[in-house]
Amino acid sequence: MTPWRHAQLGPIVGMCPSLQPKKVWKHFYAPDEHWERIASADPVPLRRAAEDIVGRTREEASELPRVSPDAWGRVRAVLADHHEAAYGPAYFDAVRDPESCWSLRMGRGQRHVGYSPRGVYFVVQLDRPASWVMTAYRPHPPIIGVDSSEAGYLRAAEAKFAKETGMDSRDAAGDVVARLEEASRTAPANLEDLWWLAAAVGHGRFHAEDPAVVRSLSAAERRLAEVERRLADALRRSLDWSAVLQGIRSGVKDVNPFDLETALHDAEDLLVVASVMGAVAEAEAFLEQAETLLGWIPAEWVELGDVAARRAAAVGGADHVAGRLWIHAEEAALGAALRDGPASVRPAARLVDALVPAVLPWDSILLRIALIGAGMAAERRACRERWASTRAAVALTAPKMGASGDEQDLWDVRLTVQDSDREFVRVFVVDAAHPEGHEDTEFSERKDEPLWRLEGREDRALIVVVASDSRIEGTTLDEVLSEAERRRDIIVTTKEVSPPT
């Protein structure tokens, strides 16, 4: 796409490549945004190619799902193609459209927003050497099963623009009156009309004390009271809570707070409409889930707290379900800021031992012995059978009368070896104090004495028994193991010992 020069903002280019995949999936493929009405290609056949790679349909996953690195490479290429061929040109037409409406003042994060007469809402990030499009989508009320008309997209884009650019406007009451009058001009004929009427009334009620609003609010309230019960029930049932919650979920997961802020505005509108339509239980359930997700707001988004505080005040504070949504967002941002420094109480790492067993002094010895075992010859196998009765066992030292607490925490290690062949057995104990191995082949000469004693519950040791039918040369464990590596009639068995848990 060729850069386009805005009279005040300078050159503007399309979305950067890293953003394109998720925006194509999220917006261009969205069935309820109907890009086929304004783009050069129909998204339906295009999205099937991406869905085949991802393994999920756009209907199942409103956000681009995580996939394997291999699939990611392929799907990214497909999504980039669809951006170049259809989505990009369509939204760039909206950006370039001389009839498009642009924000007069730069918003937070150095951004401008705008919307086109075709109902495309876009956000432009100011940057050098060129500003770039950050997102482009077709806003619409979250109503299940309703396809917005083209006029509906435009109305939603206008409402979004007015709300987001006029948040600090002194003429908020003027905007409210305009919306009330527009929504109550005729009786709502369908769910979308009723949504706009309920939204206007809901927002109007926040200004009920304002003399400028009273008359148009009363007229709109009357219009709402006349709505057929069947239509009102249908709207209550069709409010798309899960889509809006998904917006909050993906907003919280994003790298910057912009999408979350947009999702919170959408949630505010939904809660305002739900409140007017009497969907109280659904609103409370939604709020509880949203509050938990908002808990994940990161400390870097602390400025979101300011926006949230202003919106909470504008929509009834703690007395209204929409105000409570923003209060939760404000508290979450504050909580994140409070948790930004070092904690005074640090939790224990409980998983580390299971995930990464401690490095023991005998790790390399065990590895070496495993290699000896791996090349097991027939002689060695026979030898192993012969020495099968060699056992190491751990037993608690019998408590002594008057023993201190420390003495009670001693654990004896006893070894059982076939008596007749003990001259061809070499026994070593490896522990933290004896990483090279301590030989105690004579242990069995000591009547009733254990081979080793573990001191305390954390103490552990490795018993290495090297056995053969003939004499084993070498004075150290290292030399003995070297002998075992050379000869085929030597077997090495080991036992790691520690106090029972």
């Binding site: 994060g109 790298v255 994940w296 400025e303 707290g305 409070l338 995930l355």
Partner: protein, 229 residues
């Protein structure tokens, strides 16, 4: 240990199978990630979900080397873990016995722009304002706010104040805080009272009182924030 050494430690494991480095890194990460779980999530999500998420996340880091160079390790791991937990929670709501979700390489969705750096500076500035405003609050207001939002960040002085107020040793207060399963338990730490836990009216009344106390503290913080900015 610091965030800056994490990538080095994980790298030593993946390149040279240095288990000591891995243990150090995993231990540090586990503690930090546990702290990143917001209190409200700890209270509302099943405990085993967080444990499964931690295990799955750390297991993946042990299994596969990171593919991206980390400019800001803390932000990277915070976001990756947050998203991992949210995905697992979402998956559990569809499939109750799900234990883990796949971690794809994180897409660094935004290019390194001037705006990114500016925004980081603005955020730091704003965080400084919040800290200054907090320092301007009384001890009791700070404790009321932190009890719910950041109990593990209560300072020594705040903990001592809480212990003195409730007439319990600091260790007991710390223990009660780390075991508190819900806001009711937290409110009992702030204001022990003698109401019976199964008296629903008293329970509601207590929660309401604590909420009002917290709201007052938040109001004061808001006005202090307006002053410092």
């Amino acid at each position: 240990m610091s965030w800056e050494t994490i990538a080095v430690l994980l790298g030593r494991w993946h390149e040279a199978r240095d288990r000591n480095s891995l243990r150090l890194g995993v231990e540090f990460l586990e503690r930090e990630l546990r702290l990143m779980v917001p209190p409200i999530v700890r209270r509302r999500w099943p405990e085993d979900l967080i444990e499964d998420a931690l295990q799955g996340f750390l297991g993946k880091l042990i299994e596969k080397p990171l593919t991206t160079e980390l400019a800001s390790p803390k932000a990277f791991f915070a976001r990756a873990f947050r998203n991992h937990c949210i995905d697992l929670h979402e998956q559990r709501s569809r499939q109750p016995d799900a234990k883990s979700v796949d971690i794809m390489e994180l897409d660094e969705s935004l290019p390194d722009t001037r705006e990114g750096a500016d925004q980081a500076l603005q955020s730091q500035e704003r965080a400084r304002h919040v800290r200054e405003a907090l320092d301007g609050l009384s001890l009791s207001d700070r404790v009321a706010l932190k009890l719910e939002l950041a109990p593990q960040w209560l300072t020594e002085a705040e903990m001592a104040w809480l212990a003195e107020r409730t007439g319990r040793p600091e260790e007991a207060v710390r223990g009660a805080l780390s075991d508190a399963p819900d806001m009711y338990a937290v409110s009992k730490i702030f204001d022990p009272g003698d109401d019976a836990p199964d008296d629903l009216d008293a329970r509601r009344h207590r929660m309401e009182r604590f909420r009002r106390r917290r709201d007052r503290a938040r109001e004061k913080l808001r006005s202090l924030l307006t002053e410092v900015t």
